[in-house]
């Protein structure tokens, strides 16, 4: 039984076994990335469409690089270049793309739930959520787990080392799809998650969230953290009204050099990007060896290769020749 669902909409859909499988497959693709010709024929003849309804550079490029390294054909649609600006509905766009024989749709959309709706509309396409509204960004959480495992476990040791880690997620949880995916992903592997934010940047209800707690005191939370994961203040989603000023936000919730110096040795810093230096993270902190932000980007390609490979590889005979 494959632990990989047909669509990847929510990181919770994978379950611990599915997450472990993604990370295991990503290990072999990290190695591919180091080759002179970083390409394998695993998805030759398959086609992947990236459908981005929201500005994004890193996630779209990361997915497209991943698909190309697997030798898939890549079609890129973005608002501004597609018929979406001509009044065509999301449903018609998706049905049109599927009618072209595309095997997987990687979708980013500003509306929470849009990928779930797309998954209901398609017949045979796989749908991979590249971020929907405030809801989910599953591959971001997976690449975070990969990076954490690399830092604390090394190599391809499985996911046991993540269990028991103390993860502190700082910032605009309310508007963050990254946080929603991270909480599910970390907690699913047994890590202990603490959210740190002012009340106005927390979701209205945390009922049912698998977290250890909530804190409004970053200084205290940093003293017992193995992983500090920062979130961007999402001004475009209205977080500007949730804090009096960026200056006050930084004073209370920014990872300043002074705060970074109080962290235990071995604590790592993650940021999903794009960073706003000087707001949630000081420039010099982003350059510390404990900041694994560049690793996250590198690992992102391998993790997305694994996701595309597993989602598209089901039921095909090409499944075993990726190494």
């Amino acid at each position: 039984m494959s632990p990989i669902p047909r669509h990847l909409l929510d990181v919770g859909d994978l379950g611990p076994d599915g997450v472990a499988e993604v990370l295991r497959v990503a290990d072999s693709f990290v190695e591919v990335g180091h080759r002179a010709n970083p390409k394998v024929p695993a998805l030759r003849g398959r086609s992947v469409a990236t459908l981005f309804f929201e500005d994004s550079t890193r996630t779209r490029v990361s997915f497209e690089t991943a698909a190309k390294r697997l030798s898939a054909d890549v079609l890129s649609f973005a608002t501004g270049s597609s018929s979406l600006n001509k009044g065509e509905s999301l449903r018609d766009t998706v049905e049109t793309i599927e009618a072209m024989g595309i095997d997987a749709i990687v979708i980013r959309h500003p509306s929470s739930g849009a990928p779930a709706q797309v998954a209901r509309w398609v017949q045979s396409c796989a749908v991979v959520n590249a971020g929907d509204g405030w809801h989910q960004h599953p591959t971001q959480a997976l690449l975070d787990l990969y990076t954490v495992r690399q830092a604390f476990g090394g190599g391809d040791e499985g996911t046991e080392r993540i269990s028991g880690l103390r993860v502190v997620i700082v910032g605009d949880v309310r508007h963050s799809r990254v946080a929603r995916s991270q909480v599910a992903a970390y907690a699913g592997l047994g890590a202990s998650v603490t959210l740190v934010a002012p009340p106005t940047l927390l979701p209205p209800s945390l009922e049912g969230w698998p977290i250890a707690g909530v804190s409004h005191d970053l200084d205290r939370a940093l003293r017992s953290a193995d992983v500090v994961s920062l979130l961007r203040l999402q001004a475009e989603r209205g977080s500007g009204q949730c804090v009096p000023s960026l200056r006050e936000y930084t004073a209370c919730f920014g990872l300043t050099a002074r705060r970074a110096a109080t962290m235990e040795p071995g604590t790592i810093i993650l940021h999903p990007g794009p960073m706003v230096r000087g707001v949630e993270i000081a420039s010099e902190v982003a350059e510390l060896p404990s900041a694994r932000i560049t690793d996250q980007v590198t690992n992102g390609v391998a993790v997305r290769m694994a996701v595309l490979f597993l989602v598209l590889g089901q039921g095909t005979t090409e499944g075993s020749d990726h190494g």
Binding site: S89, L90, R91, H109, S111, S112, G113, A114, A116, Q117, D132, G133, W134, H135, Q136, R177, R180, P203, P204, S205, L206, E207, G208, W209, G238
Partner: protein, 438 residues
């Protein structure tokens, strides 16, 4: 509110139990010339009468919907006065109050007259609710006296609440002299701000911006204060939260002139139904928590909430195929309201019918005591607006079989108990054996 347009042929409703505000009794009903001619046991059909079997059924005054969006003018792709009234008939309604959030809005005598004209040939009585403010913008009072002169008894900016307490106070003071009721869609825009579903554990998990119950409750509380101060009656549209029900219960105990309605979806569905992001479950006020649903049921049972009103809100399929936050709110209600009330509330049938017939008729000023022709009682000489209900029949909701022009019912595939068998409007059998006759 005039006499029946045409004297319909005689009808004998045979073998049922008459249920109205005065009680219930086994009786046949003879109807002719648009009026009830006789109510009694074992009546003989007049020559040439259409005999409608009511065996095992209850015969009630026609249902009255305080909250219908007929969409005409401006939204004819969703519904028209004709199709909306046909849906009403199938649902057992013989009168609907048409909401003014059309395009253009019903904020002038001319606009009201146009809808009344369209309703002349319809299969249900259409009472128009006029807008409180010009363009429903919440700023300047609409010409309420001019509209009241055409028979408008209810004013509302439904779709939005009147945000300014000062404007609402003025509207209540002005409307008080006209003897009309002001109906409020209670939603403080600064608290609701861009939300698409109930704010709570589900919205937090789904990442959907929420509309807190608080957005409704602060306006309910405000308008209770305004109604108490001005003495003008406020009717609360589609109450959806437990706290709103409590506020109204206390206001009534204090003698404040308020009434309230609740929509079937606020006792038949919860915010967990939104978990699949299907916009057919998007409605405003949003589907609330289980706790709120339970409070609505209690409020209906103890009389705090006076009426069940459908908030029938048709939308064309393409608008419900949009991403959740982009889709318009609203769901169909006319053809399922009675069955949902029978199925979900666990109340005696007579109480359910009261919530759907004579109590809303009185709120709308359509009852006999107000000079209207709705809400019964079913006695000789009364207007023949009747509904024949089979209280034990079960049926499964099939969107494609609805009489409405739209298909956006959230109950597709749901099996319900209780069904309208026949509807008589001004003596004419407009629905026979659950089938619309025209």
């Amino acid at each position: 509110m005039g006499e029946p347009a045409a004297a319909a042929g005689a009808v004998l409703v045979q073998g049922g139990t008459v249920v109205d505000a005065t009680g219930e009794r086994r009786a046949d009903v003879v109807v002719a010339g648009g009026r009830v001619q006789a109510v009694g046991l074992d009546l003989t059909a007049p020559p040439g009468a259409h005999v409608l079997d009511a065996g095992g059924c209850v015969v009630t005054p026609g249902l009255v919907d305080l909250h219908t969006h007929l969409r005409e003018p401006g939204g004819e792709e969703s519904e028209t006065v004709e199709t909306g009234c046909r849906a009403a008939s199938v649902g057992g309604f013989t009168a609907v109050v048409a909401m003014p959030n059309t395009d253009p809005p019903l904020d002038s005598a001319a606009a009201v007259r146009a809808v009344l004209d369209l309703a002349r040939a319809a299969t249900a009585e259409v009472a128009v609710a006029g807008a409180i403010t010009v363009g429903r913008r919440g700023e300047r009072l609409a010409p309420m006296a001019e509209m009241a002169a055409l028979g408008v008894r209810i004013f509302t900016d439904d779709g939005a609440g009147v945000q300014s307490a000062g404007v609402m106070r003025r509207a209540l003071e002005y409307g008080g002299a006209l003897g009309v009721t002001l109906a409020q869609h209670c939603e403080d825009a600064s608290l609701a701000g861009g939300g698409s579903m109930h704010e709570g554990s589900w919205s937090s998990r789904l990442g959907v911006p929420g509309i807190p119950g608080l957005a409704e409750e602060v306006m309910v509380a405000r308008d209770i204060a305004l109604a108490g101060h001005t003495g003008t009656r406020v009717h609360f549209l589609h109450l959806s939260t437990a706290r709103s029900v409590d506020l109204v219960r206390r206001a009534k105990a204090d003698g404040v002139p308020v009434t309230a309605e609740a929509a079937p979806h606020h006792f038949a569905l919860t915010d967990s139904d939104v978990s699949g992001y299907d916009p057919v479950f998007k409605v405003n006020p949003p589907l609330r928590s289980q706790h709120d649903v339970e409070a609505i049921v209690v409020g209906l049972a103890d009389g705090t909430i006076d009426a069940i009103a459908t908030d029938h809100a048709p939308h064309p399929p393409e608008s419900k195929d949009l991403p959740f936050d982009q889709a318009p709110p609203g769901m169909l209600g006319l053809e399922t309201a009675l069955s949902l009330a029978i199925t979900e509330l666990g109340l005696p049938l007579r109480q359910v019918v009261g919530l759907l017939s004579w109590r809303p008729a009185a709120i709308a000023g359509l009852d006999v005591a107000s000079g209207g022709e709705q809400g019964g009682p079913v006695v000789a000489g009364s207007p023949a607006n009747l509904c024949v209900i089979d209280p034990v029949a079960t049926w499964t909701v099939d969107p494609s079989a609805l009489a409405s022009r739209s298909r956006n019912t959230p109950y597709a595939g749901r099996t319900l108990t209780g069904r309208v068998r026949h509807t008589l409007f001004r003596g004419e059998p407009v629905v026979v054996d659950a089938v619309a006759q025209r």
